[in-house]
Amino acid sequence: MEWLDVAVLAGTFFSLLILGVPVAYSIGASTALAMLLSILPGPAVTTVAQRMATGLDSFTLLAIPFFILAGQLMNRGGIARRLIDLAKSILGTLPGGLAHVNILASMLFGAISGSAVAAASAIGGVMAPVMEREGYDREFGAAVNITSSTTGLIIPPSNVLIVYSLASGGVSIASLFLAGYVPGILLGLMLMTVAGVLALKRGYPRDARTPIAEVGQRFVSALPSLFLLVVVMGGIVGGVFTATEAAAVAVLYALVLAFLYREVGVADLPKILLDSAVTTAVVMLLIATSLGMSWLMAYANIPQTVTAALLSLTDSPVAILLLINLVLLVVGTFMDMTPAVLIFTPLFLPIAVGLGIDPVHFGIIMVLNLCIGLCTPPVGAVLFVGVGVAKTSITAVLRPLLPLFLAMVIALLVVTFVPALSLWLPHLFGY
């Protein structure tokens, strides 16, 4: 293997990234440059172009724009409000009730919209002023909102898991989706525990108990939105739909619901379609260029070299898993989730499989790990949005974030070393 290729690839990539060239272009340009070293210019640019086009040539990937579109349609109106009302009637009586409400609402909203940033913005936007009015620190509320929004990326349906399925060479999406439930809920519960302890210490208020009839009423009003999850997951797990078909049905369902609630008119549709297309394209260009880079790395035998290097350090599975997690945590702080999953899955998955780890389990470890990076500086999309909607600053929110980070890391370790948490549900359904 040519060390020069690797040095050029990594050196160019990081230089462009820090320079502020958009991530997708940084990946593409460094791949093309490294390829020029080993083959002639003509074939090099044609190969990168071909990898880009064939990389997107996938029916499965089409699920991503559809889930984005369904999310856009669902976000238009009172769905965040309805989910918060429901969460408040269930968890409001706990110490630091509103923090728990924020976490549960984020979990539900994140699952429905499939987007951590949407959850941070929609739920945080409603919760931040309410929490402040009831005497919570603004920074504490923001920290809870930021960390809990990532649960929606693990609780299905989840676009990142679709990307992982692609990167891993076709791990079953239904299986990955089922595997996400327990770890996602575990993460939520860990965050609630920490938030509860902090709330007791700081003497935050709790709500009066909500009469059971009202809980039921609120559940009914949130039901149409929650039913989307039943349609999508039921369809996929029951083998009725592929993930892409389920996502298209979700678009139709969300559209009908939005029309019924009069939250969307026909005149709004072009704007919604365009917004979804742009969001899709941002992800797709990342996918196209990342696949080019991982193709080049495979061509240069980099995965084998990394495997050999890791195995020469230690052959203890526990140590290797810790090492992989450590690398991913560092990667996650400055890299976005999609390219990180696409570039690092081919590097680490063979090692993990060699150690006897189920590829489904490894996918959950990877996504949960990278979720932590979404909430950390210097690059943390969820952090930025969460700080923005709460009108605070990154430096102010770091202190209250620390105990919550600790909860996330503990959840990561538990999920890493207890495979049953991820694999129990898929096995139950026969995957």
Partner: protein
Amino acid sequence: MRSDPSVLAPEMRRHPLYRTKAALDSVLGWFLVALMGLAVVNVLWQVTTRFVIGNPSSFTDELARYLLIWVGLFGAAYATGKRAHLAIDLLRTSLSGRGVHWHGLVVGLVVGAFALFVMVIGGAKLVSLSFLLGQTSAALRVPLGIVYLALPVSGALIVLYVVLFTIERLRLLRGLPPTLPVLMETTAEAYAENVDVNRDAVGETALLADDSPHDPAL
């Protein structure tokens, strides 16, 4: 008289730069709306033919895949025009005044070079190779060269956006009034207010200097 660099003067909307970009955005925007709409209808049709008619349609799977390639690539060009692609902006935010524009010129050079050499030239070679080999798709019998045509065309559109941005930056460096809202730097507070709720898909946000109030596309 020197104008305020943070305000778009109404008469600047008649400037050729503004009008070129607005026209480009509008055409590309409506094209994307059509592609997205068609993609949804297409897969719903696949579900319908399988469950209701009981006879799965043969072309929908292929059409869906090709539509995704087109949405991805043409959307990437549109997103470049809106500066919606994710970037680490630590360096840019540490610069001020003219530094921002010099930085923008350098970033544009990298983006333009990638689009020109890989997407336009590499893509054009790929298209001609596909036509030469006479590759056609299995179900629709479309020449694959037509599908791959999205690469050089969207690449050329990206180059065009970069050229427009470069001209505008050079104008701004000479102290001329701004014509493109998308290049007018927004503050962090304005960014937070402009953040679109569902900008991200896979847990990441598109850092965008939103010019939607001026968006003539839709």
